[in-house]
């Protein structure tokens, strides 16, 4: 029993510490905002731990000591009273200093966070939907405006400005390795500046309960060197790849004559729905359905055949397709790199 308990405790601790590293952790910062916050977290936690230990010691001391009987109970001891008053006043004074100090620290940290994106050259509009993210790259040239979903490519080492809003309920954008979280509110625009120091993939998660599939509303920030990022943007601006095989051609026709076309957009085809993720380059993404499945032919088929099994309650309905029709549509989408 004891052995089991210690193994369980060991495993739990190991699992717990696991959560402190990796692509989604506030304690493993990969950008200036997250570093600032991580430093703040550790400093607050450390200082509060010290205060807690001191308070516990102060509590324990009188409990352990035997009360001293004064020799003459009726005689007032002005010296002892003064000492007590001084101890209490010192404690109150120290508390005030610590609280004011922490407030100042968080104030200056906030100023640092706010300054990160003041010279951001890139603005990205992130719109929350139940349960996926619409991502729109702003540009002064209208033909360079780009809409995609769930994956946010950014140039590494450069500040980026995110404009956050929502079309349905309140969501919250949180990529712990890069920054703190900020809400996406319908009818309101919030501004979040982020910067990734090094190239890498950082996972984010909706952090405000938004309905049945809140837990499956993930996002990915993919930081790349500037040249690679520019190349990615130019690729994404191209219309969808033309179907290469007969099967894929059949898939395109099916897509355009079935419910898919009512909700989804595929650039370069008549499909122009805006209520669901843009599929123009769907196969170039790493995941499906906001991080729920990894991108593969099998998972594409699984999702289209039964979105309500993969993500129950999701706003994509089950569409009645025969096996051949499903294969054709998957063959088509798989080619949309």
């Amino acid at each position: 029993m004891k052995r089991f308990a210690s193994i369980a405790f060991g495993t739990a601790t190991a699992l717990f510490l696991q959560g402190c590293a990796g692509w989604q952790s506030a304690l493993d910062p990969k950008g200036p905002a997250a570093s600032e916050l991580a430093w703040l977290i550790w400093f607050f936690a450390g200082l509060c731990a010290v205060v807690w230990v001191l308070v516990m010691i102060a509590l324990a001391m009188p409990l352990m000591m035997r009360p001293r009987e004064p020799a003459e109970p009726l005689v007032l001891d002005a010296g002892a009273d003064n000492r007590k008053l001084r101890v209490v006043m010192t404690a109150v004074g120290l508390t005030a200093v610590i609280l004011i100090g922490l407030t100042l620290l968080s104030f200056f940290a906030n100023r640092t966070l706010a300054a990160i994106g003041s010279d951001a050259a890139l603005t990205i509009r992130v719109t929350g939907h139940q349960w996926w993210w619409e991502v729109r790259y702003e540009d002064a040239t209208p033909s360079r405006i780009l809409t995609t979903a769930n994956e946010i490519h950014i140039p590494a080492g450069e500040p980026v400005r995110l404009l956050l809003t929502s079309t349905d309920v309140i969501h919250s954008f949180w990529v712990p390795s890069l920054s703190g979280k900020l809400d996406l509110i319908p009818g309101h625009m919030n501004v979040l500046d982020i910067k990734a120091d090094k190239p890498g993939v950082y996972r984010g998660q909706c952090a405000e309960f938004c309905g049945a599939q809140h837990a499956n509303m993930g996002t990915f920030i993919i930081a790349e060197p500037r040249a690679k990022f520019d190349a990615w943007w130019n690729d994404q601006l191209q219309p969808a790849a033309a179907p290469m095989s007969g099967e894929a051609k059949a898939g395109e026709d099916l897509f355009l004559n079935r419910p898919c076309v009512m909700c989804h957009k595929i650039g370069g085809t008549p499909a122009g729905g805006t209520v669901a993720p843009d599929l123009t380059h769907v196969a170039s993404r790493q995941t499906l359905a906001a991080g729920t499945l990894t991108m593969s032919r099998g998972n594409l088929a699984a999702w289209i055949a039964d979105p309500q099994g993969v993500k129950p309650g999701s706003h994509m309905p089950v569409v009645d397709l025969s096996g051949d029709e499903l294969n054709a549509i998957v063959a088509y989408l798989e080619g949309l790199k």
Partner: protein, 177 residues
């Protein structure tokens, strides 16, 4: 003994509140195909033909989840482009008591699925059958034909008309009983 029984009864009552409406998000072919012939007109030689009914009609009509899904899809599929928010535009008003093709779930389902000659497009292959039923249920709620306990309530955006669960029944509105 007695207090324990009372406590048990109270707990039972409290648990009853946990009952939640079932949300059927997968198509239920068991209920019916949605392919039954629906009369385009009620004018039949020799009197009115009994309207065929579909099991789905009954299960979608008073279900709060399906009604609210129908409301979302009404906007998503741009029904409002022709019918406005029910008040009518290029297409007829859907919140009044006048029905060109009948007010039953089955008739509205047939209208959306097959279209109607004077400009209502057919959505047969464009909307999955269950979603057509959801739209039909929602269209009925626009004229106060859905139970107020199930019809959608307050919108989050600007409201074009009172919420569906407060819509008066258009057929009896302004008429003394």
């Amino acid at each position: 003994m007695r207090p324990a029984v009372v406590m048990l009864l109270l707990a039972g009552l409290a648990l009853a509140a946990c009952q939640r409406e079932e949300r059927d998000t997968r198509p239920q072919s068991a209920l019916g195909s949605g392919e039954q012939p629906t009369p385009v007109t009620t004018l039949e030689p020799g009197g009115q033909r009994p309207s065929p009914s579909d099991n789905k009609a009954a299960s979608f009509e008073a279900n709060a989840f399906h009604l609210s899904e129908g409301k979302r899809l009404f906007g998503w599929f741009n029904c409002s482009g022709c019918h406005a928010n029910g008040g009518g535009g290029m297409g007829p008003a859907l919140m009044d008591e006048k029905w060109i093709y009948g007010s039953s779930m089955e008739s509205i389902h047939a209208t959306i699925r097959d279209g109607r000659p004077n400009g209502m497009p057919s959505f047969r292959d464009m909307i999955p059958d269950d979603q057509i039923w959801e739209l039909a249920a929602f269209v009925r709620s626009l004229s106060g034909n859905a139970p107020s306990a199930a019809a959608p309530s307050r919108d989050d955006d600007m409201m074009a008309h009172p919420s569906e669960n407060r819509m008066p029944n258009a057929a009896t509105l302004g008429k003394s009983p």
